[in-house]
């Protein structure tokens, strides 16, 4: 289903002393002690590995009609996970699909981040008229139901991977913008910012070198959720039939075999499980990062 919503259950406060604080060694150490976060990280590293070496793990074209259609896993030793309705190998599809799914997630998140940070930073730092105008713009985009907007954007163009990434990214930037804006509003009155201003640094320098690094923690957490959300949205789009037919993606595998749910439900279950595992991993990682970067809010009670 994949609505573009980020469940941000963290409350973030900048270090009251105003010292520059990058997510440093402390954070990494506490991350390393969190077994669930490590699990998530391990899964993602595994997925990245599969994506990078897809051609070695499953050689050949995953879209090639290689075998007899609709074979169950285990029927044919040449196709360990079975074949779909066009005779394509499911294992090959899952492996190559990793690349597409990860890429879509990361690129869409990248687009959202770029736009959101830009808008949020300007609005939050400068305030005033710019803030009102940008806030209005953000509200505008937030009021249109995101998924509907994505559908319309994809329908304007041919559904290719690039268009889908852009559309999903364009639909999710308002939340990033809001987050960045509230961060910047908090931080712009901090000591170190005032000091930098007094020292004569330009606004651009201050925003990028002083404020942004301090605003990173919640952004990092939100990014992992954003990627997960983008992968879910893409699967929803594919289910509705709007996926790129030249690239294998897990969502596309589910969407293309919808009608075989009764007799060949593994065609839905296997890619669905793959999506769930990767999304889960991003969430675990995001939770772990949240705990590591926000010592104030701990999952284990004191």
């Amino acid at each position: 289903m994949g609505p573009n919503v980020i469940a941000n259950d963290s409350v973030v406060v900048a270090d009251p002393r105003g010292a520059r604080r990058l997510p440093g060694a402390t954070a990494l150490r506490s991350l390393a002690r969190d077994p669930l976060a490590l699990l998530g990280l391990a899964i993602l590293v595994g997925a990245a590995f599969v994506a990078a070496f897809a051609d070695l793990i499953a050689p050949g074209d995953p879209l090639d009609m290689a075998g007899i259609p609709l074979q169950w896993p285990g029927d044919d030793p040449a196709h360990v996970l079975g074949t779909d309705s066009l005779g394509r190998d499911v294992f090959s599809g899952l492996v190559h699909g990793t690349r597409a799914s990860l890429m879509i997630g990361l690129s869409a998140a990248g687009v959202s981040l770029a736009l959101g940070v830009l808008v949020g930073a300007i609005a939050g730092y400068f305030g005033g008229r710019a803030d009102s105008a940008l806030l209005r713009l953000t509200e505008l985009f937030q009021t249109v139901p995101a998924f509907l907007l994505v559908i319309v954007l994809v329908a304007i163009n041919t559904p290719t991977i690039g268009v889908i990434q852009l559309a999903i990214g364009l639909a999710s930037w308002p939340e990033i913008a809001r987050l960045v804006r509230s961060e910047f509003r908090l931080l712009r009155d901090s000591d170190f910012v005032l000091a930098a201003r007094a020292a004569g640094f330009s606004s651009a320098h201050i925003v990028v070198r002083e404020v942004l690094p301090n605003a990173l923690p919640p952004l990092i957490v939100t990014t992992s959720i954003l990627v997960a959300s983008a992968i879910l949205t893409e699967s929803g789009l594919s289910f509705l039939g709007m996926s790129d037919p030249n690239v294998v993606s897990w969502g596309g595998m589910i969407g293309g075999n919808r009608e075989h749910i009764g007799s060949a439900w593994f065609l839905t279950a296997l890619p669905g499980a793959a999506i769930a595992i990767v999304v889960l991993a991003f969430n675990l990682l995001g939770d772990g990062l949240n705990d590591a970067l926000n010592p104030r809010l701990r999952r284990r009670p004191s």
């Binding site: 509907l148 304007i156 889960l280 999952r299």
Partner: protein, 342 residues
């Protein structure tokens, strides 16, 4: 003694209780109108970029057409004319609350939308309600046993619900409850052709609605579960809770009166945001279950280039979101008097 009613924008939040709602309402209305107009222009511009118009689609569906028939249809549907002319005409109609006619369905857009709107609203509101109730309960359970086995187990289930795509869950629910067990219907919103009354009608509708509502709600159950757990854990450490405990108030009273009430803040904020998300995401659930709602209508409208209809839907759903956000603002004001109405 009655205070004189002083209604100015600069009235502080310490005015009489009813008064503190008015500024919020007024603010929303002031901001809503330009927002809605902006949405309108944005969508209009967006739709102009969509290739093909409704006559193209009709010709495609008919397996062919001729110049003359297409021209005749375009004239009838008012599709001749420049973009500017059409935008002006549309805005003019809007001023008289006329959303236009859908050329494809040959019916007023308002009528088409209002036919389907209750179905989607029912789904979305029920889904949200179920998600909040179940999510909060789950979150409370997790927070109560935080760190111990029930918490970990529930957290895992929670995460799985969050990570699995909704339509996958829906498909599996259909497979289990409808195909294999045959307990629940998998398509439509009511039994057709029979008129039922009272309890029978309700039961029939609920049978059809159960699976779609659960499918729509699963993702958000997970969200609210985590939210509740996190908010409760945070608030539990704060002063007033410790004070209450120190005073000797029973733990459950402490939980539900103080902690929960303050944890509702982020929940209601998110609920407002989620309304928009649910409205869009309902498109997938409605397609899966054949639910005759606005989401499916939107998909149809996009596929068939029915611009009038699409504009009407986008406009209406945006208006709904504005209204819901306003209600959430008011609710939060009521929940936590510390918030100032700007």
């Amino acid at each position: 003694m009655d205070l004189p009613i002083v209604a100015t924008d600069s009235a502080p939040a310490v005015a009489r209780p009813p008064g503190r709602f008015m500024p919020a309402v007024r603010r929303t209305l002031r901001q809503a109108i330009p927002t809605v107009l902006g949405i309108l222009v944005l969508n209009f511009a967006l739709l102009q970029m969509v290739p093909g118009d409704v006559v193209d689609v009709m010709a495609g569906e008919s397996g062919g057409a001729t110049m003359e028939s297409m021209r005749a249809l375009r004239e009838q549907f008012g599709l001749a004319g420049s973009i500017g002319e059409r935008l002006v005409a549309y805005l003019g109609n809007l001023a008289t609350l006329d959303l236009g006619v859908s050329p494809r369905y040959n019916a007023p857009v308002a009528e088409l939308i209002l036919d389907r709107l209750p179905n989607t609203l029912f789904l979305v509101v029920s889904g949200l309600a179920v998600a909040i109730v179940v999510g909060v309960l789950v979150g409370v359970a997790m927070a109560t046993w935080a760190g111990r086995l029930p918490d970990r187990a529930l957290s895992l289930v929670n995460l799985l619900l969050y990570a699995t795509p909704g339509f996958c869950i829906g498909l599996m629910l259909i497979l289990l409850f409808s195909v294999k067990l045959g307990w629940l219907p998998a398509n439509g919103h009511a039994t057709i052709g029979v008129t039922l009354a009272g309890g029978d009608w309700l039961l029939d509708r609920l049978r059809y609605a159960l699976l779609p509502i659960v499918t729509l709600a699963t993702f958000f159950i997970a969200v609210y579960g985590r939210l509740t757990r996190a908010a409760m854990l945070e608030v539990r450490q704060q002063d007033f809770v410790r004070t209450a405990r120190a005073k000797g108030l029973a733990p459950s009273r402490v939980m539900f009166r103080h902690v929960l009430r303050n944890a509702l803040m982020p929940i209601t904020t998110m609920a407002g945001l989620h309304f928009a998300a649910l409205f869009g995401g309902a498109a997938v659930t409605e397609t899966l279950f054949g639910w005759p709602g606005l989401g499916r209508l939107t998909l149809d409208a996009v596929m068939t280039r029915d611009f009038n209809l699409l504009l009407g839907i986008l406009l209406l759903s945006s208006l709904l979101v504005v209204v819901v956000n306003m209600l959430v603002d008011l609710l939060q004001l009521w929940l936590d008097p510390r918030i100032q109405a700007r």
